[in-house]
């Protein structure tokens, strides 16, 4: 091939006076950046993705990864990333792939919303002294008695782990998240890759997905769950199917997905049996019948332009839980242009859908779960005040497990043992450690949410739900405020 014009993005700096040539970096880098030849250490910077694995493990703190110094003349329209993408496409002639969530600098509405607190006129609550109720139940709440055929799922806190399929992530991720969900009394989600037999014992905390590829769907799978989720779309790639490259379809993955090993696993863009709300209603009913009306059925859709009409249709089709995935939602692999340019923010979609369902009087029939870009407990509180019953977290959970957001999930060479099925790499995530860390994260957020609620003078999460008076917009225009249904900072009420 002729000269490639791609310059390295990152530069590995090794402090020779500290380096002890132990070779840990060489051994750990799946991208083969580090090399040790007869006592001579050298690096191949081009391959570096800044995952920081070597930096974290170097026992001599000899390494630092830096941005490659001034690779292009400064230009705020033709940014280095833009130029690089063109080079890459000129090299390959293919669609650009990307992992994790939309990294672009679109406005983050969470960062333009401020929370309220009590002062004098109503007392704040000290969460250490008084009970705080974060208990959340999900499902259709219009049932009148306990005998109703409208099952509810109860969570200790309104945070669940979002769908990440086995195959796109390692089994150890599933093990970590399922154990943490069990410990914290919440749910984790299998994603569309089936449920590994090792995890059947976590069924009471599992959301199992039925997606367009129908991977791993069989009666026992549906039975081994707390909730069944029909996946229509995903925030990172609305309207797009999935493609798990054959290289990631290991024997284990294949067995769990019930497909041949080492062959590409293609999820079609639409479900081929769902071309209308009526079709969706049929699938929902089918799943309910198959599981004896014992489990709530969730439907997950991506936040797109006419999300409120879609939401209304999904609820009327019989969904007990509606999960909406905003445009910051992450993925194991998506075409970069789709990930970065399709969909709308979750904050907007959530407010819109909550209002619409209230207006139509069907809000009680469904629980709303917000997903896509929830970064911390404040985001959780804001999402709930905007109308969510609970949130899904994925990126935050992976970061807790060690993800450094290098966004190269689609290569299958995740150095942190997360987005990979290579045994030597997935070994790097000890589920004991992962479960503990994911659990710690939830615990920490639980504490913080209680603290924020206490400051607001609210002692039950139910009183916060859809309580947009607890929010004020800052730096938002009248149109945005109207859609979000919040007042501007300084407005009384």
């Amino acid at each position: 091939m002729a000269l490639t014009m791609l310059a390295p993005v990152f530069k590995v700096e090794r402090e020779e006076s500290r380096c002890i040539k132990c070779g840990v970096c060489v051994q750990q880098c799946a991208n083969e950046v580090h090399h040790l030849d007869n006592g001579w250490m050298w690096t191949n910077d081009e391959e570096c993705v800044a995952c920081q694995r070597c930096v974290s493990l170097c026992p001599a703190q000899a390494l630092a990864i830096k941005e490659y110094p001034l690779s292009f003349r400064v230009n705020s329209h033709w940014t280095p990333a833009t130029i690089r993408e063109i080079y890459a496409q000129a090299d390959s002639g293919g669609v650009l792939l990307a992992g994790m969530g939309n990294p672009r600098s679109y406005k983050s509405y969470f960062d333009h919303l401020l929370l309220n607190a009590s002062q004098v006129t109503n007392p704040s609550i000290d969460p250490l002294r008084e009970p705080m109720e974060l208990n959340t139940s999900l499902g259709n709440k219009t049932g009148s008695s306990e005998l109703s055929e409208k099952p509810l799922i109860s969570l200790r806190l309104p945070i669940m782990f979002s769908a990440m399929s086995f195959g796109s992530v390692s089994l150890n991720v599933h093990k970590s998240l399922s154990r943490a969900a069990y410990a914290m009394g919440t749910l984790w989600n299998t994603g569309e890759g089936g449920l590994h037999p090792d995890l059947f014992s976590y069924k009471d905390n599992a959301v199992v997905q039925v997606a367009s590829g129908r991977f791993g769907v069989h009666p026992a799978y549906l039975e081994n769950s707390a909730v069944i989720e029909i996946k229509i779309g995903q925030g990172a790639k609305p309207g797009i199917g999935g493609h798990l490259p054959g290289a990631k379809v290991s024997e284990e993955v294949a067995r769990t997905r019930m497909i041949p090993a080492w062959s590409d696993a293609i999820s079609p863009a639409p479900h081929h049996d769902i071309y209308s709300i009526e079709d969706l209603a049929q699938l929902i009913e089918t799943l309910k019948v198959a599981t004896g009306y014992k489990k709530p059925i969730a439907v997950k859709v991506a936040a797109v332009h006419n999300i409120s009409a879609i939401a209304s249709g999904v609820v009327r089709a019989g969904a007990d839980i509606l999960a909406i995935d905003g445009f910051r939602g992450a993925t194991g692999a998506a075409p970069m242009r789709i990930r970065d340019h399709v969909g709308i923010p979750i904050e907007i979609a959530l407010a819109q859908v909550d209002s619409r369902l209230r207006d139509e009087g069907i809000r009680q029939q469904v629980s709303l779960v917000a997903a896509g870009g929830i970064r911390n407990s404040a985001d959780v509180v804001k999402a709930i005040a905007l109308g969510a019953d609970a949130v899904y977290i994925a990126t935050a959970a992976l970061i807790a497990l060690g993800c450094h957001l290098c966004q190269m999930c689609f290569t299958g060479k995740c150095n942190w043992g997360i987005a990979t099925t290579r045994p030597d790499l997935s070994r790097r995530l000890n589920p004991e450690v992962g479960a503990k860390r994911a659990q710690n994260l939830l615990q920490a957020w639980e504490h913080e949410i209680k603290e924020i609620m206490g400051a607001m003078g609210i002692n039950a999460i139910d009183s916060l739900r859809g309580n947009r008076l607890m929010l004020r917009g800052i730096g938002l225009g009248p149109e945005e405020l109207k859609i979000l249904g919040v007042k501007a900072a300084g407005e009384e009420g």
């Binding site: 006076s17 500290r18 002890i20 132990c22 070779g23 840990v24 051994q27 750990q28 974290s56 493990l57 026992p59 001599a60 045994p423 030597d424 070994r427 790097r428 995530l429 000890n430 004991e432 450690v433």
Partner: protein
């Protein structure tokens, strides 16, 4: 008492050996001092076997053949059950190497005597390998090792 590595989670990165060397011979855990200004002598070994890494550490056997076989009385067990070698007594007959079924004790070119895991009794801290394993793959073998308070007692940190 003994430690073990869970093969499923051992990365084979070798950090255990580095921190092991730094925890002994008076380096006080300082990796740079050990590797830049001293001769680091790790007591443990990693063996690559068909894609798995075998953590070759002392079992501190209940019925340690090396103590039984040592001709100079250098191989001993301390009050906490740790098998260690007193290199001032060792005459390098290497009988312990011969009788250890796990091939644990090693020799070093740099120094007479034997290198073997002593669970960091020198520093009386938690074994350095266990403390620094990035994946917590090295654990106390609870079947034999002290648990809870006993462990804290031995490694009172």
């Amino acid at each position: 008492m003994k430690i073990t590595a869970i093969p499923d989670y051992c990365l084979g990165c070798g950090l255990c050996r580095i921190y092991c060397a730094a925890a002994h011979d008076g380096f006080q855990g300082n990796v740079l001092r050990a590797f830049k200004h001293g001769s680091p002598l790790p007591r443990i070994n990693l063996i690559n076997w068909q894609g798995l890494t075998y953590f070759n550490v002392c079992r501190h056997c209940q019925d340690a053949p090396c103590i039984n076989a040592c001709i100079s009385g250098a191989m001993q067990r301390d009050e906490n059950g740790r098998v260690y070698v007193d290199n001032s007594r060792c005459v390098s007959c290497y009988t312990c190497i011969l009788v250890c079924p796990f091939g644990h004790p090693q020799v070093s070119r740099e120094r007479p005597g034997i290198l073997k895991c002593d669970l960091c009794r020198e520093s009386n801290r938690e074994p350095a390998c266990l403390k620094h394993c990035p994946n917590e793959a090295i654990i106390w073998d609870e079947e034999s090792g002290p648990t809870g308070s006993a462990k804290n007692k031995v490694h009172g940190e």
